[in-house]
Structures are given as structure tokens and as C-alpha cells.
């Protein structure tokens, strides 16, 4: 078993490699731009008796909108960074060096995967929190309400990114070339987003089921958890909230587990 301290050292090195200048700055800037601009100026009139629930629904709405607008760029970032982590290391030989070190393959895979997913989740979530707080903060009570709501987005973003990370890992370890893998992973992310934009006049009754796609499921899971209401007789409102959470977890693991098994048991460096 590789000790926790060793894993932490490797994680630190992998994070500093993957998020080296100007990747972090670019990611923060791009996601901040989307986060800050997706929330409009706060002007809302409500009755005093309903104030707390209205205030909460304003935050939920802003959070949902923010997460929805962030997901596409996040998937693209995830695709590029995973390719840089797996395919580029394979191409340049660092993967060979790591796999020849006395550290388990499980540790290498999980560290490389998490070195992309965890910072990306934290950047996304941190910027959602920042944008929501600067928009709705007025006093400590408001801040606590904001935190209580926004904290729920953290696991959802993480699980959503696990899915795209899994696809990108599959692509990177199959193609094993940096640029083609990055482009393919971006295309895959874009495709998953694109199919959710299709309307019923193009795909008929299938459009009703698009909320079950890996792109929409985490958003609906978050929305249902936060009490967002969806039109009656739609899958979003018929399926229980936990159903969407289970679906999101399944999506998160559907590529991750096979890729983990492949990397730890079958992956070879032949070139």
C-alpha cells in the first residue's frame, strides 16, 4: 500500500504541473466571467410574509443558472486537462517514469484524475459561491442562507465532472496523443451538451427524456434537492429527486471504474 503522505506529495506535484501558469489563471478568468455575468443585477419585489422563501428561491435560481452556464466550459476544460495529464505524459515519457517508480498504479491513476477534477470543482464552486455571495449578501443571516444552499452544488459539480473526466481518460488512454485526445475529448463533451439542446420538433418524444442525460441529470438533481419546481407531467417532476442523484452517481462512475480497472490491470507502455 502506498502511504497517504506519498500520495499527497504526488498529488501536489501533479496539481502544480496541470495547473501551471497560465492554465489556472485562464480557467479562473473564463469561469469567473461566466459566473459573474450569468447573475443579473439584484432587483426583486416580494411580500414580506414570503420573504425568506422568496429569498431562498432567488438564490436557488441564480445557483441553478450559474451551474448550468458553467457546465459546458467545465467539460471542455476537463477534456483538455485530462488529455494533458494522461496523453501528454504518455507521449513525453513521464507516465513511463511514474509507472517505473515503486508507487501503485491505483495511486497514480487516482492522483492524476483527482489533480484535474478536484481543483476544477473547487474553482467552479468557489466562483459560484463568490458570484452568489456578492449578489445576495446583505447580512450574516443572508450569508448563512447562501452557504446552506450553495454547498449542495459542490458534490453535484464534482460528480458531473467525474463523468467528463472518465470520458476524457478513456479517450486519452486510447489515442495517447495530446492534441488529438484533447480535441476528441472536447468534441465528446460538446456532443453531450448539444444533444440536451435538441427540441421535440427534431427528436420527437425523446426530447422529454433529455433530462436524464449526463449533462442535465446533475442539474435536475441539484434543482430537485433545492426544491425547484418543474412543469407537471415532465420526467423532471415525475421521477423522484433521489432518482436523479442516483443517476448522477452512476454517470460519475460509468467511465471512471472501467478506466481505473484498465489502468491498474491492463495498461501497458508499448511505444
Amino acid at each position: 500500500m502506498t502511504s497517504f503522505k506519498i500520495i499527497l506529495s504526488l498529488l501536489k506535484a501533479e496539481i502544480s504541473k496541470a495547473w501551471n501558469k497560465p492554465t489556472l489563471e485562464f480557467a479562473v478568468g473564463f469561469i469567473a466571467l461566466i459566473s459573474i455575468t450569468s447573475i443579473g443585477t439584484l432587483v426583486k419585489i416580494v411580500e414580506q410574509v414570503n420573504f425568506q422563501s422568496s429569498f431562498e428561491s432567488m438564490i436557488v435560481e441564480a445557483l441553478s443558472k450559474n451551474m448550468s452556464s458553467q457546465l459546458l466550459p467545465l467539460t471542455l476544460f476537463c477534456g483538455i486537462l485530462m488529455s494533458l495529464s494522461f496523453a501528454r505524459d504518455y507521449e513525453q515519457g513521464l507516465m513511463q517514469t511514474l509507472l517505473s517508480s515503486p508507487i501503485s498504479r491505483s495511486a497514480i491513476f487516482i492522483v492524476k484524475f483527482m489533480a484535474i477534477i478536484v481543483p476544477l470543482t473547487l474553482i467552479s464552486w468557489g466562483l459560484i459561491l463568490f458570484a452568489t455571495t456578492i449578489n445576495f449578501y446583505s447580512n450574516l443571516t443572508a450569508l448563512i442562507t447562501i452557504l446552506q444552499i450553495v454547498i449542495l452544488a459542490l458534490p453535484m459539480i464534482f460528480l458531473a465532472l467525474m463523468f467528463y473526466g472518465g470520458i476524457a481518460t478513456l479517450i486519452s488512454l486510447t489515442i495517447r496523443r495530446t492534441i488529438p485526445s484533447a480535441l476528441t475529448a472536447m468534441l465528446a463533451g460538446f456532443f453531450v451538451w448539444y444533444i440536451t439542446t435538441l427540441k421535440s420538433d427534431m427528436i420527437g418524444a425523446f426530447a422529454d427524456y433529455l433530462c436524464l442525460t449526463p449533462y442535465k441529470a446533475p442539474q435536475v438533481a441539484l434543482g430537485r434537492t433545492l426544491g425547484l419546481t418543474y412543469p407537471p407531467d415532465t420526467i423532471e417532476s415525475i421521477l423522484p429527486g433521489w432518482g436523479f442523484i442516483v443517476l448522477t452517481v452512476i454517470y460519475a462512475l460509468v467511465f471512471f471504474i472501467p478506466m481505473y480497472l484498465h489502468f491498474t490491470r491492463r495498461f501497458e507502455i508499448r511505444e
Binding site: 489563471e25 479562473v28 478568468g29 469567473a32 466571467l33 459573474i36 455575468t37 443579473g40 443585477t41 439584484l42 432587483v43 426583486k44 419585489i45 416580494v46 411580500e47 414580506q48 420573504f51 422568496s54 429569498f55 432567488m58 463568490f130 456578492i134 449578489n135 445576495f136 449578501y137 446583505s138 447580512n139 443572508a142
Partner: protein
């Protein structure tokens, strides 16, 4: 620096929407209803009492359902408090009535409306801002300030870093 610049850019172009109307059913005689305006510090705006929709001058014919245009005529006692519970406006008015309020704090402004008339009546309330793109008066003052602080601090750190690097290289 990046976040500061984005905030600056955002608050420089962002502007408040033109008009918000809210109406709560009907208010009994001598009863007080309270509306809460959650708002950013966007400067001067108008609180309108008794209008169901924007004043006629702003309405394009055909855009608003007929019958919606009729203003409510009613004697009302109005009190407006800012988020720090300071009274900004307190008067007896006859609706429809509009008055200026300066929104300088982010948070909840309370508007208390007491029906001083003879019969129960709906009392619609709205907040109006001048139409137009990027009215600098109506930008979010606190975000703008935060943007300036963050970008100035960021730029200072970058400049300091560059100077130190240059100095270290030379020596």
C-alpha cells in the same frame, strides 16, 4: 486581478432592468401591507405606487393587455425603510404616485403601504429605473468598488512581483 477586472467590466455594462411591478391581492381598509425590495446599491430609482404597469408614455400600443393600464386611485400612507432600518420616505399620498429613493445599500428595503381609503383595494407597487444601456448612475456601486479594489490590488502585486524579479535578476 482577473476577478477584479471581470467585476469592473460587468458592473460597467450591467444595468438594472427598467421596471418591476408587484401586486398583492387586495388590501383591507386601514390595513398595512409590507413589500420587500431586495436590491443592489444601484443609486436613484423610482418607487411607483398604484400603477399596474409602466406609465403610458413608456407603453407601446398593443404590448400591454387592455384594462391593465388603469391606475389605482387611493389615499395611502407610505413608509420606506432601508436595510439599516432608517426611514427614507414617510408620507400620505394619493395613488398613483411615484417618488425617488436612493438605493445605496445592498439588501432589503421595506415598503409599508396602509390603505387609508374607504374600501379594500389592490395596491400595486413597482420600482422603475430609466431605460437605456449601461446607465452609469444605476451600476452596482459595491461590486464596482470591489472590482476597483481587487484589480488595483492585483495589479500592484503583479507590478511588485515584476520589479522584485527584475531586481533579483540584476543582482
Amino acid at each position: 486581478m482577473i476577478i477584479g477586472l471581470i467585476l469592473l467590466m460587468n458592473t460597467a455594462t450591467e444595468h438594472v432592468p427598467g421596471d418591476f411591478i408587484y401586486s398583492y391581492g387586495e388590501v383591507e381598509v386601514n390595513e398595512t401591507y409590507c413589500y420587500v425590495v431586495s436590491i443592489a446599491p444601484v443609486g436613484i430609482g423610482n418607487i411607483t405606487i398604484g400603477f399596474f404597469s409602466p406609465p403610458e408614455s413608456d407603453i407601446k400600443i398593443g404590448n400591454t393587455p387592455p384594462g391593465f393600464l388603469e391606475p389605482v386611485t387611493l389615499p395611502i400612507h407610505v413608509k420606506v425603510e432601508d436595510p439599516a432600518n432608517q426611514t427614507l420616505f414617510e408620507e400620505d399620498i394619493i395613488s398613483p404616485y411615484s417618488f425617488e429613493v436612493e438605493f445605496n445599500l445592498r439588501g432589503q428595503y421595506s415598503v409599508y403601504l396602509t390603505n387609508n381609503g374607504d374600501e379594500k383595494s389592490p395596491i400595486p407597487m413597482g420600482v422603475r429605473f430609466p431605460y437605456g444601456e449601461g446607465n452609469p448612475i444605476n451600476r452596482e456601486a459595491d461590486k464596482f468598488l470591489l472590482g476597483i479594489i481587487l484589480s488595483t490590488l492585483g495589479m500592484s502585486f503583479v507590478a511588485l512581483g515584476l520589479i522584485i524579479k527584475l531586481f533579483l535578476k540584476r543582482h
